[in-house]
Amino acid sequence: QAPVRSEEISVTQWGASMYGAPYAVAMEKGLFKQAGIDITGIIGSGGGGTTVRNILASATPYGEVAVSAALAAKAQGLDLIIVNTGTRSVAEASMVVMPGSELKGVEDLAGKKVAITSPKSVSEMLLLMVLREKGVDQGKVQRVAAGGYVPALTMLEQNAVVGSVLIEPLSIIRKDKYRTLYRAGDVLKPMTTSVGITTRKFAQENPAKLKAIIAGRRAGVQAIYKDPAETARIIEKLYKLEPAIAKEAVDNMIPPKMWSEGEFNLEELNRMVDGLKLIGEIKADVDWSAVLDKSYLPADLQAKQ
């Protein structure tokens, strides 16, 4: 086996959301190589389930996926473990209304129709959590599945709904057209939204590789916080965004500290579980000890709680 072999790993929503920024930065700046592994490519995909299955099937079965996808896969008996956390914020999510709308706050949504992407999606979950936080009866807000963010905005423009969920970077691209009703990050406390997973077998056989990936990603996160402007340039190139938009997208995520360095925060994890329960995707509490394995984290992070 060559000392440094090129590897491909998977990241959910690669190219569409900010989840992948640490990988982009780490690859661009050679941080993975420094950590002892040559990551040459990222495989992205839309759905969480697809990513999980794809991770399981690939030569280097490591990837970052939505928490819900990891838990669902685990619940269906797939042999995987969570080895680090990825993103930990909901700051990129918001709800918008038309500029002339009379709605002032979350409370005004009662008795109204709003657009979500699809039933049981993250967009619905965050909406429900916001409503609960603000004490609005979720039964009073009628949710319409649009199939995606863009169709949801179209419904909004056509007055089929009064509000629509939205996510960055789309919300930045279209910020002139709508008024933001609330930002999920302003209402909700941070929670873990994505995690790094691998198979138990791979972890046991290639602990060094795994540690290198996690370390490389961590270095990427640190680099983001150190130099947001450079991060924006990297993102801009990779995601083919306009410079201004890329800059704003990155800058928006710096204060809420969207990217975790990898450490597990049970409170933030459970907050996500709470949300998933709200949309009925999981029924019971999660026994994290059966799912998590912190032994591949850098030593200082293992200690953090």
Binding site: A69, A73, L78, S118, P119, K120, S121, A145, G147, A152
Partner: protein
């Protein structure tokens, strides 16, 4: 008859083979559940009513887009037929039509028709209508001239000739168009739901797939397979009856 039997035997054998491979674990559970389990699952989800709304939505949309594409396709076919100049111009385009990836026009439809069923129906109609147009043209072309002449001999009106001679004469060809319209409506509606929408059987399958819920996923796939097979068999038997009188 024996061919029918053989066909049943072949299909049953294939199902049994899959069943066996699943039961023996050659096909892992995570990849596919045994056909018998799919049936049980299907029974369960139908009884629970969990997907009733999706199922109703999907099949209603399929029915609507079939009817629309048949009616519109027939009307368009008649119009194009009666304008030979237009026809010459349009025919080379019709021949290439299926090479156009129709579903990319979804974003346009949602601005025109709003989000939801109407746009999905529009995609399905767009996909299905051309078969009906082509079949109508073909059917009208194939009405032997002598049948129209016969109408004249009986001193029938233009409308009478159209209803009592031209329509029945073209029926078998029109029915071919109907069959294709049904198939393309199925494909159009379910594929749009699968990729673009937040409701319906197509969406439910994609959703179950993402959540690793192989039970409901395969049950819904089975449901679609069964409905398509039944509808197809039904249409084929009508077709055969129409053809049986005709075949020369």
């Amino acid at each position: 008859m024996s061919e029918k039997l053989l066909r049943v035997v072949v299909v049953v054998a294939m199902i049994l083979l899959v069943e066996l491979l699943c039961r023996l674990g050659s096909i892992p559970r995570m990849v596919m559940i045994a056909p018998s389990e799919m049936v049980v699952e299907l029974g369960r989800i139908l009884a629970s009513g969990q997907y009733s709304a999706d199922i109703r939505l999907t099949f209603t949309n399929i029915a609507i887009s079939t009817v629309l594409s048949v009616l519109l396709g027939f009307a368009a076919g008649v119009i194009i037929y009666s304008l030979p100049g237009l026809r010459d111009a349009i025919e080379p385009l019709l021949a290439s039509y299926y090479a156009v990836p129709t579903f990319v026009f979804y974003p346009i439809f949602i601005t025109l028709f709003g989000v939801g069923s109407a746009s999905i129906i529009a995609i399905a109609v767009l996909l299905a209508i051309v078969s009906m147009v082509t079949a109508t043209l073909n059917g009208l072309d194939r009405i032997p001239r002598v049948l129209r002449k016969t109408g004249q001999i009986y001193r029938m009106s233009r409308l009478g000739t159209a209803l009592l001679i031209e329509l029945p004469a073209a029926t078998p060809y029109l029915f071919t168009g109907v069959k294709l319209s049904v198939a393309y409506s199925f494909i159009g509606v379910i594929a749009s739901e699968f990729i673009l929408s937040g409701a319906g059987v197509g969406y439910a399958i994609a959703y179950a797939y993402n959540l690793f819920e192989n039970g409901p996923m395969y049950a819904l796939m089975l449901l679609v397979l069964i409905v398509v097979t039944v509808v197809n068999t039904l249409l084929n038997s009508i077709d055969r009856r129409l053809q049986a009188r005709r075949q020369r």
